[in-house]
Symmetry: C2
Subunit: 419 residues, 2 copies
């Protein structure tokens, strides 16, 4: 397995201590399936009246748990008014086996594990959300997972989500979490806490990842769905490690039924801002933990025809193996950025294009910038965080896309090791 | 520079000896610009009444020589009837500098070098085609190139194109050429000879490459354009090394004015078939020389909604870093093929999908094939040429796409070396 991988040099120096969210019970353990000597299964028990929203992979070959979650949310989530049976009650996540491309057996495995959780908690199986990550095409050991889930239901207690963040990881080299506070006019500030995993097979839509955001406030599912979709669009869907999109990508957001009552527009805006911050930090952490990453790359595209075009161009740069290897080699090879702009398929005028590496303008007006200094730019390229800015000079469209470089480490993880 | 790169292990064991085409004069030499100790500039002098057709990069940031060639062909190529001034007379190719993203200076460099060739040959500059390949963003040393071109015009003589195939190379580890004969009802068989370069920055449309096909027959430019476009679509545009599309991609085809008269439908079909064979062999050679390649991968997609969907899915598999690294690691990781099918955006039904690695069926009906043998498939994966077949089970669309694996060699060439 991947346990021996060195921790990414781009891991954030400080990770916040996560608050314990009242009413949210958590347990992690080992399922006895794929991984040894580490927690690989997580049960999160949600308070009554918890709303949920989700965004999922756009893969045409989604995993069985993605099918399951879509079904649960379509049956239960977007509701105005009291629909108690429509609230979600639990989330079970296993790492090591994706339960993807497993046919009818995979669907049965979902039904079996959801029933096990439901039986232990005394709720309906249709209120249990499921996520799986790991190998594709191997039958999930549903019996073992169900047994583990029942044990976890007994152990579940109010606790921080840091252990859960570690238990959902696969090739991740560090556990990922984030938190933010929304200052509200209600009796208390609203905490938003998120955890995520993801390191390879990372590309929109979505990044190959699992992400869970818990909002310590009772909010309507339909409002939450809108907020989550907007936030994912600018964070998880504007991030790529290797251009490969997983069959299992899932981000779920939960408005905890035990949380603060939030209803004014100002309060909702404050909560939305906190959700955005959490999604943004989780997305950055995933880029920082890209398989083999030695540099975090942030690409800003301006002056495109529109925002969608800007994002397409940003992703074209971010997914270019030649751009990513040049940056790994600390080579200010801005010609490859020109190449990636040109191939994106969006409107571009070669002779209006301007490019910066950090503070250094390298190209302007269709050729190398007159002030270009190879020495200055090469010095900049030795940094661990590289900013690339491209101005198309055509319109008002902007986007920001994150990625990491492409190194020998990526090849080693994906070719030399067997998974 | 890249001269010390080891020759690709996938180089074809036997390369055909190229025939000398009557009336086609060739010279190669060193331009004194970027490369030392090797020929890096090639002049090909075409017989009178030679027709030409071209396909070019779809990059929005094309190089100056691409702009130049488009202008020459739009002004001179597609003609029925005698338009002597519209025939092309020469082709000048330099390796080491792409003359891309060089602004007005780049356009002037084209005009200068074309004028130098035209002056030496006594033809109009607008009948001289130009190609450049190499570094992007560096001003081309047009004076030196023009001087070299004049010298080559004196040296040009009827010769095989093997030396030219070597002189147009950059990071290529072997020179690429192909030939085929069309049995025609005319007085003699029609030879078709092609040369090409390309190794990295290779993706449709087009592969990052230069390719030139010489047909020893006088054929109309409009017919030639149709044939070249069709052939490129199934060969150069169905091949990828790294998903990166160059600013300089160019394939030109020439119907030599000194060649056989070919006019019957049967003869034209025979010539078209020979052109296809030459394009196909050149495309395969480029995939075999992909930067760092250790395995040639041929992907066949069947049962897609239509041929275009099949090609999109084939390219999604061929461009997936995870598929390519798995094959580099001789890992029969067919789950990554499922992933790449799912992310392609074309119609796919997970539960109808079938996948083969060579003769071994690995997936059927939405899950691992019952007859799957890890041992047998792993044995197959040690081969130097890997065939992947995917049947979508939806329609009649088919496509074949070629690529190579993604290895430490690719990273070394593009990150460790500075170019």
């Amino acid at each position: 397995m991947m346990d021996q991988l060195p921790v990414s040099p781009l891991k954030p120096a400080d990770m916040p201590a996560l608050p314990v969210l009242k009413g949210l019970r958590v347990a992690t353990g080992n399922s006895g399936t794929r991984y040894r000597g580490r927690a690989d299964v997580t049960l999160i028990v949600l308070p009554d009246q918890t709303s949920a929203a989700g965004v999922f992979t756009r893969s045409k070959c989604p995993s069985a748990p993605v099918d399951w979650c879509r079904s649960v949310l379509q049956g239960g989530a977007p509701s105005a008014g009291p629909a108690a049976s429509n609230t979600v009650r639990a989330l079970l996540i296993n790492a090591g086996n994706a339960n993807a491309f497993t046919g009818a057996v995979g669907a049965h495995a979902c039904a079996h594990t959801a029933a096990a959780v439901a039986g232990a908690l005394g709720c309906a199986p249709e209120t249990v959300l499921l996520s799986s990550t790991g190998v594709i095409g191997e039958p999930l050991e549903a019996e073992a997972l169900g047994t583990a889930a029942v044990r976890l239901a007994e152990d579940a207690a109010e606790a921080s989500l840091e252990a859960a963040a570690a238990a959902i990881a696969t090739t991740d080299t560090f556990a990922k979490w984030a938190q933010a506070e929304a200052a509200c006019s209600s009796d208390r500030a609203v905490s938003v806490v998120g955890i995520a995993k993801g390191s390879g097979m990372i590309a929109p839509d979505m990044a190959t990842m699992l992400g869970y955001v818990f909002i310590d406030a009772a909010v309507e599912a339909s409002w939450l769905q809108g907020v989550l979709s907007r936030a994912a669009d600018q964070t998880f869907n504007a991030m790529t490690v290797d251009s490969d999109t997983s069959t299992s990508d899932t981000v779920l957001a939960f408005g905890l039924g035990s949380g603060a009552a939030v209803s004014t527009d100002a309060d909702l805006q404050a909560v939305e801002a906190a959700i955005f911050i959490v999604c943004d930090q989780l997305a950055e952490q995933i880029a920082r933990d890209g398989e083999g990453a030695s540099k975090l790359i942030t690409i800003t595209v301006e002056g495109a025809e529109n925002d969608a075009a800007a994002r397409t161009i940003g992703l074209s740069i971010a997914n270019s193996p030649l751009v990513k290897t040049a940056i790994a080699g600390e080579d200010a090879n801005w010609g490859r950025v020109v190449m990636a702009v040109g191939k994106a398929g969006e409107a571009a005028d070669r002779d209006r294009l301007a490019i910066w590496f950090g503070p250094h303008q390298v190209a302007s007006g269709g050729l190398r910038d007159p002030g270009y200094s190879e020495e200055a730019v090469s010095g900049y390229m030795t940094a661990a965080e590289i900013d690339i800015r491209v101005d198309l000079g055509l319109g008002d469209g902007t986007a920001r896309v994150r990625t990491c470089d492409l190194t020998h480490g990526y090849i080693s993880i994906n070719a030399d090791y067997r998974s």
